[in-house]
Amino acid sequence: MTELFSYDFMVYAVTAALLSGISCSVLSNYIVLKKMEFIGDGAGHTAFGGIALAILMGWNLNLVSVITGVIFALSIYFVSKKQKVNENSIIGILLSLSMALGVIFISLKKGYTPEIDGYLFGDILMVSETDIKILAVVFSAIIISVILFNKELKYYAFNQRMAKIYGVPVNAVNFLFLLTVSVVVVTSVKIIGIILVTALLLTPGIIAKMWAGTLNHMIIISSVVGTVSSVLGIIAAYYFNIPPGPSIVVTMFGFFLISFLIKNIYTKIKK
């Protein structure tokens, strides 16, 4: 086990998994409570277009990914607000558009592009020191935001209309939330992959909701689930030589199954 951490790439991979695992898990609570399950899928798939463009043009991938995420968040926020188009409809349109553009960009690039597989399903070897720094900044921003804006986020998730009436700045909270989810997704794709990032943005929140009495308990439970399954998933990926994304998702599903069964047994005994 100790030899696992004697390689720099594994230290980077585990650190990245921890940071993105906790970041996504914390956000998953609000996504689950607000029933915005489509957002992770949308942000992940939209990132594909940006990544493909960066590969085609030889641009800085992190920068282009983050810009794509910001454009995605801005588009959802403004179109759904001003034009009264459903949020999910916009996400669906942008998702397919970006995937289509991504495929066009990749097909325009001469030769084979093996790295694209890494972005689709995650790749331990792809994580660099810069990625860790970006993930650490995003992670810190999320934790600080959740502490500072705890009640705003709680009331925003509980009832957006009433929160607005009682003075909660829900438009600002909504915009920052969309932006944070988009940035977290694009910075997490190297470790979990575009296709599977949505699992990290849902499963911890779903498991936590089964057991938590308060939103703060939910955040703690989901963070533990996200941390443990991300680290176990990375270790399994190393030993079985499989991509980390599917490995983390399968581990997380295992936790969901165990949680679901225990909850059902617990509820039956309680009756």
Binding site: L33, K35, F149, K151, A157, M162, K164, Y166, G213, T214
Partner: protein, 247 residues
């Protein structure tokens, strides 16, 4: 002389070429207990949203001289949402703390005090999804009252509550109106309740057809807003029978 607390002048609202409200003029005085009646689609909810400041882009002027507390319709809530009754009541004090500040002991005490008056203080840690219809209604009222409003707006508060609970609720409204001088605006489909509890009635159907003392209301007032869909029934100690049909 009675003091005007809400004044609406030539208020109108339309959306995507659909007229919702037109030429609405009224004044509500302090300590009034006003009932707003009207058929579905009459614009009652839109008028409430204008008073609450939720709708922009309406024409005319609305002047409000006081703090509003609002009890919404008993709409769908996620029964598994992990939020306690006390946390919901504290939402009513959000403006007093604002962003970046936590609720203080004083806020929590005030919330518990209102919950005690409405007899739900023992449920403070209970998840909202586990409250009964009546308890949830009193929770919504606690949230509306906790900031000490001058005006209380209730949008169909009888929905999801049994008859006994409704009666208790309206008695409470009356008490708040008479003893604490809170102006109450009640939107309801329950016309009998409006007549027994309020002192003024506003009849709305896109525009304001009448706004007068409850005791002065007559059959023609109903005709104006309910057109051909109204049946007036009487229910004493005999089977229900139609006493007036508007067609």
């Amino acid at each position: 002389m009675t003091e005007t607390i809400i004044r609406a002048k030539n208020v109108g609202y339309e959306t995507e070429n659909t007229l919702i409200l037109k030429n609405i003029n009224f004044e509500i005085s302090k300590k009034d207990f006003v009932g707003i009646i009207g058929p579905n689609g009459a614009g009652k909810s839109t008028l409430i949203k204008i008073l609450l400041g939720e709708i922009e882009g309406y024409t005319g002027d609305v002047e409000i001289r006081g703090k509003i507390g609002y009890v919404p319709q008993h709409d769908f809530i996620d029964k598994t949402f992990p939020i306690s009754a006390l946390e919901v009541v504290l939402m009513g004090l959000y403006k007093e703390t604002g962003i970046l500040r936590r609720f203080k002991k004083e806020h929590i005490n005030r919330a518990l005090e209102v919950m005690k008056i409405l007899e739900i203080d023992k449920l403070k840690n209970r998840k909202v999804g586990k409250l009964s219809g009546g308890e949830y209604q009193r929770l919504m009222l606690s949230r509306a009252l906790v900031s000490g409003p001058d005006i209380l707006i209730l949008d169909e508060p009888e929905a999801g509550v049994d008859k006994k609970g409704q009666k208790l609720f309206y008695n409470l409204m009356k008490k708040l109106n008479e003893e604490q001088g809170i102006t109450v605006i009640l939107v309801s489909h329950d016309i009998s309740m409006i007549f027994s509890e309020t002192n003024k009635v506003m009849c709305l159907n896109r525009t304001l057809h009448c706004h007068k003392n409850t005791s002065e209301m007559n059959r023609d007032d109903f005709k104006k807003i309910y057109s051909d869909s109204l049946e007036m029934l009487v229910h004493i100690d005999e089977p229900l029978k139609v006493v007036s049909r508007n067609d």
